[in-house]
């Protein structure tokens, strides 16, 4: 590999939370050279979770969700509205869709995910919610008495269902799963969530897929795989996501599921080599967390872009400082506690750890009552690897500690 030009900037591709945290961390870790952040969206980094909850229920504005800009970030260059199309790891260059080819000294991959779409004609009334612009477009159509079909019953689909219901829409969830949120939560809790959502007036059709979306220019009805037809004005597709890895084609990075990284967030090649000048952060990063085991995983929880961004920034700063500290910084174990929360009606879920690692037999109520407030434990090989609070918060803290110490 050719030597990188030391005068070139660190280029961070992806201007969302992970890219922002990586840039902040580079500065805090003492790197004073040039940083450029390249992002496809025109908006400066913002907080996504409120887009399906609080913000969607009120006014969707950038101001309501923007991350504050820190003083040390003053000289970071933002190149927004530009999409990365190719990268050359030998020449240390990045190509963008405006035709520009730029040099980088080090590269941070933070391009995240995009919403998967159903494969039907693009008519009005079909929505996804990933970006601020998506949420703005949907908000305009969530008027009282609108008939909304939500496809998919993950956290996002269920949150959107609750928000639409609260805005006065009639809401039907269509899902291939047996129960809402069953994959992360397990059967026991998912059944209780179905009971609660149904009680709030959300209709749930499970075990079915969408066969067709009918309507000439805008949505009129949704046809299900079992032949049922649901009249609808709005269809919200929350059917998973794709990793934004197309621009990495032609490199030797392992992009079989997201982008493989080591525990220092260095990108790893298909030959198993970790690159000191290429890093991966956020949803797209598949990395090992010693808290659980040595299996690299992508974790789509809210804290991950921040934790991986900080880690990548610190390691990269040490590499660029070339002051002998690099090996020590890399060797420092990185074991972030995955955490997420979800608000649906008055139900407040909060979780720590990796709930999805365990089978249904290893889930049990630790405290409280599932139909009211509860703490639920998720065990793997007898060890607590996840805890879920339904309405409980402070009670979760000792369990979080127990999960975190499991990796020590």
């Amino acid at each position: 590999m050719a030597e990188a030009n030391p005068a070139a900037p660190v280029v961070i591709v992806g201007a969302a939370m992970g890219g922002l945290r990586a840039a902040e961390s580079l500065r805090r870790s003492g790197y004073t050279g040039a940083i450029r952040v390249v992002g496809e969206e025109l908006h400066a980094p913002y907080n996504r979770p409120p887009l399906s909850k609080e913000v969607l229920a009120t006014d969707v504005t950038h101001e309501a969700v923007a991350f504050p800009s820190r003083a040390e970030m003053g000289d970071v260059e933002w190149m927004l509205g530009v999409r990365a199309t190719a990268v050359d790891l030998d020449a240390h260059t990045l190509t963008t869709d405006d035709g520009n080819v730029q040099e980088w000294r080090a590269l941070v991959i933070a391009t995240g995910l995009r919403a998967r779409r159903l494969d039907f004609a693009p008519i009005a009334g079909r929505h996804v919610v990933r970006s601020l612009d998506d949420a703005m477009a949907l908000r305009a159509e969530l008027i009282p008495s609108a008939r909304v079909v939500v496809v998919g019953s993950g956290f996002l689909g269920c949150e959107l269902s609750a928000t639409a219901r609260k805005l006065g829409c009639s809401v039907t969830i269509v899902t291939p799963s047996a129960e809402p949120m069953i994959r992360p939560l397990g059967d026991l809790v998912a059944k209780e969530m179905r009971r609660r959502l149904t009680e709030e007036g959300v209709q749930i059709f499970s075990g079915v897929t969408v066969a067709a979306i009918n309507g000439e220019t805008s949505v009129e009805s949704v046809e299900l795989s079992d032949g049922r037809v649901i009249e609808a004005d709005v269809v919200i597709e929350s059917v998973g996501s794709h990793c934004n890895i197309e621009w990495l084609e032609g490199t030797n990075l392992d992009v079989s599921d997201g982008v493989l990284a080591d525990n220092a967030m260095r990108a790893v090649t298909t030959d198993g080599i970790a690159l000191d000048d290429v890093y991966v952060v956020g949803d797209i990063a598949r990395f090992p967390n010693p808290m659980f085991d040595d299996v690299p995983r992508r974790v789509e929880h809210w804290n991950i872009p921040t934790d991986t961004g900080k880690r990548a920034g610190a390691v990269l700063a040490a590499h660029l400082a070339d002051d002998g500290s690099f090996a020590d910084v890399v060797a420092k174990p990185f074991a972030p506690v995955p955490s997420f929360w979800s608000n649906q009606f008055e139900i407040k879920l909060q979780a720590y750890g990796l709930l999805g690692l365990v089978s249904d037999d290893d889930i049990r109520v630790l405290e409280g009552d599932l139909t009211d407030q509860a703490a639920v434990g998720y065990y793997r090989d007898g060890r607590l690897v996840g805890v879920l609070g339904i309405g409980m918060k402070a009670a979760l803290l000792p369990y979080r500690k127990q999960i975190a110490e499991g990796g020590a």
Partner: protein
């Protein structure tokens, strides 16, 4: 001295800040956030981490 402000209209009492800066943030027995609005400069890293991890982005440092 660092001055901290929490927008209690935004705060949903998730308690993520409690792990980052336990000297300044805690959840009380009713699962509500309580915080100390001032911290010594030596706590800056922890307070900034608390700002970062707040799901509602309700915490800020008053400069």
């Amino acid at each position: 001295m660092i001055k901290i402000e929490v927008d209690m209209n935004q705060c949903q009492h998730y308690g993520q800040c409690v792990f980052e800066a336990p000297d300044n943030f805690k959840l009380n027995d009713d699962d509500k956030l309580e915080y100390v609005a001032e911290a010594p400069d030596s706590e800056r890293d922890n307070i900034e981490a608390a700002v970062d991890v707040c799901p509602m982005q309700a915490i800020r440092i008053v400069e």
